[in-house]
Symmetry: C2
Subunit: 383 residues, 2 copies
Amino acid sequence: MFEFEILERDGRARVAHFVTPHGQVTTPMFMPVGTQGTVKGISPQELLEIGSQMILGNTYHLMLRPGEELVKAHGGLPGFTAYPGPFLTDSGGFQVMSLGHMRKITEEGVIFKNHLDGSRVDLTPERSIQVQEALGADVIMAFDECPPYPAERDYIKASLERTVRWLERCHNVKTRDDQALFAIVQGGVHEDLRLLSLEATLPFQTPGFAIGGLAVGESKEEMYPAVGFTARHLPENKPRYLMGVGHPEDLVAGIALGVDMFDCVYPTRTGRFGYALTDDGRLNLNSSAARSQLQPIDAECDCYACRHYTRAYLAHLLRAEEMLAPRMLSLHNLRYLHRLVERAREAIAGHFFEHWSRQWAERYFKGTPPEWFARALDEGRNL
Amino acid sequence: MFEFEILERDGRARVAHFVTPHGQVTTPMFMPVGTQGTVKGISPQELLEIGSQMILGNTYHLMLRPGEELVKAHGGLPGFTAYPGPFLTDSGGFQVMSLGHMRKITEEGVIFKNHLDGSRVDLTPERSIQVQEALGADVIMAFDECPPYPAERDYIKASLERTVRWLERCHNVKTRDDQALFAIVQGGVHEDLRLLSLEATLPFQTPGFAIGGLAVGESKEEMYPAVGFTARHLPENKPRYLMGVGHPEDLVAGIALGVDMFDCVYPTRTGRFGYALTDDGRLNLNSSAARSQLQPIDAECDCYACRHYTRAYLAHLLRAEEMLAPRMLSLHNLRYLHRLVERAREAIAGHFFEHWSRQWAERYFKGTPPEWFARALDEGRNL
């Protein structure tokens, strides 16, 4: 169980199989986010049709509503949500920081006010694992603190050391063998702090590792060296998960640097706002131009929206505030990211990932890609 | 084209085939309402899967936004909406009355203020047909006035006479042979006025007739005698369409009285508000009881929601204001009405419609059905 087998390599990029109790997935992969037990507007059948492999659930949201016991009574997230494949749950830590009010962080854990009803909630490493065991995901995450950006070096250091102590508590309290606990490496954008976190985290030999504490406000110029540095120091034979990322360009750059797993609300959120992801960049269907365009969002896309609808129709649905608009744009955007990682996997398997990613970027960025992106691709070639 | 072949009869209820350019439908049928070019939240593929046969489009909404020319540029409603089957469009008259501001009715037509931008719009019989020809539905409706309830007898009489003159203008201006123009019988709840409308309308020998001017505020005790009276005076060999109706009990009563076609926003609207239609009546998934119920909405239903989800899950989605809730409840409610007419058709074909409808009503009304319902069933037995 939780075997991670690398099938192909091209530079630091790799294609692998990862075995979970609910099925084998192929990485690199993008994981749609099902915050409250549903990928917003999308049915499980549609997720399977567009090539979703693993769905993210949010511990913070689900423990507050409907409560983990109800999910457990359904046999966990697959029974509750009717998505029959693998799930990953986060630890709740990140959302406490971003949504909890009056939060207080101590050695014991975090105390915060429930954003729904104002009640006091305690979240500790032990409680996070207890909730995640009830939710029953295949991959569960260690309870960590993700410091904000910017933060003092001293704070980041103290925080990552506490996160390691929390990892140990998670490790000790975990009871289910059918769940893989992933550790999270912190350290902000500082190489020495990343190294400190790595040295303290790797000995736990968890079945996978996440790169945390990034995409929280720092520039891409600061973020990608930290991604590359961390990924390079993680074990070859374990999956690497870049949390909360990302946009299409982030997936391509992350894959180049050896990342295997990604998740982000971006495709569904930007879809709800009327934007469609394409190889030519992000298309705004709220524009007046879109209202008369009789072509699909993307002629190369095989999603339901692109096979059936014109941009003009989708633009009409948006203006009319019809539910089918966010549904179809979310579906298309998820399919776009799934197709993007599928194409990346093909390029890795064919050993033309660098060529493919440069071609993709030239079209996507309409000319020269930004420095940070070119550097990530360059670094990905150096073994 | 537009052949209406009665296959089975049981009392006044009948099962028939109705041939349209986009395919043959079987009546009695319920038509989902796609007001703005989409049945709210539901894809065309799902409509086909749940047994939808003909979809309603609203002339008033579509002429104002996106405008009928854009729909025409897509090849009409099937190309625009990607629903490949038959459509029916209303004339716009009813919505002008309910949504238009500062409306003024003259012999020529109706002048009103566009509810979207306040601009002045003229809608005449000629313009209604022009728009409906551009929208390209299989069945189009004559431009009529649907008087409010209550209204003076004199007003209803003057209005229905004008509606007949408008019918003549629609009839004269219509150019497409591949669209069936249905006339609308008015007359409120007054038998003599209904007869007046019938006598003036039937000579046009349109391929179908609608019963209009009902379900606008009158009681069911007043409405159903008018339905029965009108249906009984309509030609046997033409489809009869009871506009804007209805609830499950309305479908059963209407079918008993010889109605073939129904439409209503009720299943999708009540679904968006968290209510599910069942043989045991309407289920409120906003209730606290639903939050812990691990059974489906309806164990007998074959819709996606009932095959995959518990009431507790759907109740959670509602509380969390997740888009999947209105989508799934709309889907279930449409499927419920489609299944209801399917069961009615089977009962008619098997000549046990009266027995079936009484049994259905006993469970649905939890005991004795209301007077109006029992009377409608009784009247339906008398040929």
